[in-house]
Amino acid sequence: MPYKRISKAVGIVALAALALTACSPAADTAHTDKVSSDPTKIITAYSNEPQNPLLPADTNEDYGSRVIELLFEGLRAYDPEGKPINALAESIETVDAQNWIIKVKRGSRFTNGEEITAKTFIESWNFAALSTNYQSNASFFESIDGYAAVSAVRTTTGTDETTMTVPAPTAQTMSGLVLKDDHTFSVKLSQPEADWSLRLGYSAFFPLPSAAIRDPKTYGENPIGNGPYKFAKEGSWVHDESLSLVRNDAYDGPRKAKNGGVTFKFYTEPGPAYIDLQSDNLDLSDTLPSNALRTYKADFQDRYAAKPVALNATLIIPPYNPNFQGEAGKLRRQALSQAINREEICTIIFNGTCTPAKEFTAPVLDGYTEKIPGNEVLNFDPTRARDLWAQADKIKPYDASRPLQIASNTDGGNKEWVDAVANGFKNNLGIPAETQPFAKFAELLDRRKARSLPGLTRTGWNGDYPSLYNFLGPVWGTGGPANYEKFSYPEFDQLLQEGLRSKETSEANAKFNKAQEVLFRELPGLPLWYTNRPIVWSNNVLSAETGWNGAILYHNVSAK
């Protein structure tokens, strides 16, 4: 996931913005009660056109996700700190982390009156995972026994070497999902996974009414859900203009709405939205134009918040660059890391909207620690950096025929900080370094997939669900979906697997942090910082806050 939008808060993105969450802490409520809040008031919020028809398992970009999160309620929900709590689930039990028994609360209904039972979940999950349904979040079901059969594909190679992958499922349902009675079902995973139940608050696992499975495309235009909000009416989604939700009074879960509804107003650029916020024509935004990062505190006085979110930024060092291979390469990677003044960049360029990284995940996660052995390599120390660089040169001289390039897409305003990092390398290591700009993210992604970037690459990761594993496995694990550079460290993979198989979360987290030690030893990428995402609100709003993943907790916004 791109770093750009949250850091510089600009542009179109497609991040998974996951679960919105549960009730706010009591202290917050006390504060807002001083001025009487109007629970029927409809608030307006910044957004843009969702990319797909609104189906939970087919939505993984920001603008669709924020609507899905409000329309649906899953087995679990996340509280603002990212702690999962049971929502539709009465209980989720396991003895061996492989076989799970899930009891669904009785009496929950979709807004069309359809009851939500254990069967609803089995049908919804089978629908999401089956490859002929082309759901983009299908891989979230990969841990479940039988996923391989429903997700099977056939790849054909054309005359001109192009390949085409088409679905070829060998089963229609996952064998790991078994209905026990009306409100109980069991899930068998293909191997034990301690953190599996953490995922159940993610939108891919939301229940679907039968209408959605019958005709997903039509349903996606006017979705019927079971969450704290519902569509104001048929056709509430006015394409390219707005999408209106109203409170679902029948909802009885942990995320009860404190306002009468949310109308998402669509903006192609955050600039006009900022103007609207200043003149109270828009109530709430999590996306500020980059030039407002310097002024938003003054412009909005006490009407802003900036909390750390589950999003980090990293510079990848491609293993195919000869300068960074072998023992000399390892020393050089450390030198680069210590030549970056993270503190200064966060203060001066980001105006405090980021915090220097201490490890590879994010501080909002359970199990996060700043005390991972080896992380002193993240401290700014130009003398030591130069020293390490000199040592490396003794082993194998540095090929400085081309400047060290830092590849970054610039459509999200990354240029300033990338330039600063390049200048840091120039000044502190005495090597030529420069930004390698890409006008579009797509271009950079293509080059990463083709493994043809000569220097460092900017990247970042936004968590899907609040777990250390989600920040480590997909990004650095062998064969991980975002591991485009094909890093592979058997010891790291081994520790991750051990973590997944642990029965206790604390035990699992210890393994995951142990795995991070391997990353610090090898340093395939340089952790840079964690994002604090600023949000601002108008005079019509009393208070607002973001959840663990940086999404605004719309249900918790009280208006006046």
Binding site: L15, S131, S136, A138
Partner: protein, 309 residues
């Protein structure tokens, strides 16, 4: 007349093919796989990507892609855009908005430009004339987007006379601010054209004759001076309608108008070839038709002009 019209309409066919080919190729040549970019770092299963690539013919070479696009266009099957919305209904939604914006801007610049230009031309060298000349020079010098931001801040935020952005429910009233900014840029040209033309015609033989015969007041000014001064102005206004619609990209961005410009901008960013080309084609058509109308208006303004020969 009919033959002239037909010939002009036939000329639009090569123009359309040329522009679509060029624009389609430019979008095609944009680096990066647009489907992969849709999902950024959260890539879906490969079969989902391949299905989309297949649906939009992205896995085909350029000529097949373009051919498929032309066939779809001719059979009026505009297909879906990357957000799975039918392009036809998108067009039906966005074009009226931008047309409204452009027409409103055109009316603003025509009314103010011609009126001020006429007065300035009639009172050449007086205070009004000099003031108008200086002001119009300043307006020409300021880039449209600067004017846009200033108007938005002053009238939208500080004074609160109008909503600073348009958003949903774009109607004539909501579009006043962006239309004024859009119109102002060419308002100065209309004014200067009218003024120069009026000054020239004031000294024309027929005007001298008319006033020698004792004609004066509104009839002399409107029928003899203004009507004959309108030919260059009408040419300019007609040609301008097309650029007003196309030029709305910047203004629509600043004022968040859900029109052609904003959609085009997003489609370019997403590398959506077909959508970009369809929008551009319609813009080209508007441009061509506007120019045709201007040419036909000549005959009415100046009976000396004849088409069939």
């Amino acid at each position: 007349m009919i033959r002239y019209l037909l010939r002009r309409l036939l000329q639009t066919i090569p123009v359309l093919i040329g522009t679509t080919l060029l624009v389609y190729y430019m979008v095609f040549a944009l680096p990066g796989d647009p489907i992969a970019a849709l999902f950024r770092d959260k890539q879906p299963p490969q079969s989902v990507i391949d299905d989309l690539r297949n649906q939009y013919h992205l896995d085909e070479p350029f000529w097949i892609q373009y051919g498929a696009f032309l066939v779809n266009l001719l059979t009026l099957n505009l297909g879906n855009d990357f957000t799975q919305q039918p392009v036809a209904s998108t067009l039906a939604r966005i074009f009226p908005v931008t047309a409204m914006l452009a027409v409103e801007a055109l009316i603003i610049q025509a009314v103010f430009g011609v009126t001020f230009g006429l007065i300035a031309g009639l009172r050449r060298g007086r205070v009004f004339d000099s003031t108008v000349l200086v002001v119009s020079l300043i307006v020409i010098a300021i880039p449209t987007f600067v004017l846009g931001f200033v108007f938005q801040l002053v009238f939208g935020v500080r004074l609160g006379w109008a909503k600073p952005t348009v958003g949903a429910n774009a109607d004539w009233a909501a579009l006043v601010l962006p239309a004024t900014v859009l119109g102002l840029a060419s308002f100065a040209y209309v004014l200067r054209l009218t003024r120069a033309s009026v000054i020239e015609n004031k000294k024309a033989d027929y005007v001298l004759t008319a006033s020698a015969k004792g004609l004066s007041g509104p009839r002399l000014v409107l029928t003899h001076i203004l009507r004959n001064s309108m030919i260059p102005v009408v040419t300019y206004l007609g040609a301008n309608l097309g650029s007003l619609m196309g030029g709305a990209v910047v203004i629509e961005g600043i004022f968040n108008v859900p029109g052609v410009g904003n959609k085009l901008y997003q489609a370019v960013l997403r590398g959506e070839g077909p959508t970009v080309v369809i929008i551009v084609s319609v813009l080209v058509l508007v441009f061509v038709v506007a120019n045709l109308l201007v040419d036909l208006l000549y005959a009415w303004l100046d009976p000396r002009i004849r088409y069939d020969k």
